[in-house]
Symmetry: C2
């Protein structure tokens, strides 16, 4: 596995004093921008705020309490959104899938910049729609905390234990099939 | 941008005589396996066949004619699927988004292996469900051709022209907002 891919993980212990540069922040979205999408329809959009900004507060306020317990130390908070139809009212195909492609580029670019990124499903899409004024054709899908890795001691005890736990995934034999569903390819 | 990300594109001109090694093929799914998912629910599944295999034919036969005009030269054809609920009947959150995260790892690992990958939305999900025997809780989302890049002269004229056309994306000012939707962050 390429180290850029194997080095990515989802830490919560972020240095609350660390800032990231404008160039670093822009590079994350530049990476996201160049992912593929069906017919190059590019349905992904991004909301971003640096720590201390109005946009950061808007995103932070939408997070579930469990995520608020650590994500305030992020250097930037991001929300990934999709637009579900174009200007002519035509539905855009597979927007969530395309956003996932873009978001993986974004979090891998964070690794390349020496940063860490943690994606969060636990937030209020309605609060984001309201505070940022999303049009009816746009939906918030994912929140992402980006920052500089700190020691697990920054975290409450339960989260500190999760921070150092072994990472686990299903084996390839349960994930990759050939000829028939369930027939392991490896 | 990290070169692994900037070097990725979606060519169609594949060398019809080139094979890829078992280690290369397995590395694509290993990369896909380590992407994040909501609560580590891992909803992504993969179907794969090498050129000449039954599984390859099953995937090829499901492609739209436009994709069949070039994708038969792939060293392997892949279909990305999602399972939409777990064994207990609980819905899995954001499966398409998670599959996108995994798929971007897969196509970037292809770049790392000196290969190319081209994602295709144009195929029959029903044909895949039938030929591979997908359970009702699984859906095919994306087809991916993986192979070794060949010269554009391998392609019909119209596709050869697209192969060398400049790649375009919307500017960051239309994609990344702060404070309010539409308020460019960069």
């Amino acid at each position: 596995m390429h180290p850029l891919i194997s080095d990515r993980w989802s830490p919560r212990a972020l240095d609350p004093a660390a800032d990231i540069t404008d160039a670093q922040l822009e590079s994350l979205f530049e990476a996201a921008r160049w992912a593929a999408s069906s017919g190059n329809t590019q349905p992904g959009r991004w909301l971003v705020g640096r720590r201390g900004s109005q946009a950061f507060t808007q995103i932070f306020d939408a997070l579930r309490p469990g995520n608020q317990s650590w994500a305030g130390a992020a250097s930037a908070l991001i929300v990934g959104c999709v637009v579900t139809e174009d200007e002519t009212g035509r539905s855009l195909p597979m927007p969530d899938y395309a956003l996932g492609l873009s978001a993986q580029n974004l979090v891998l670019q964070a690794v390349a910049e020496g940063l860490v990124a943690h994606q969060m499903g636990g937030f209020s899409r309605e609060d984001i729609a309201s505070s940022f004024g999303l049009p009816p054709t746009a939906q918030a899908v994912i929140a992402i905390a980006v920052g500089v890795l700190g020691p697990p001691s920054l975290l409450p005890d339960d989260l500190a234990a999760r921070e150092v736990a072994e990472r686990v995934r299903k084996p390839l034999s349960e994930l990759v099939f050939t000829d028939k569903w369930g027939n392991a390819a490896f």
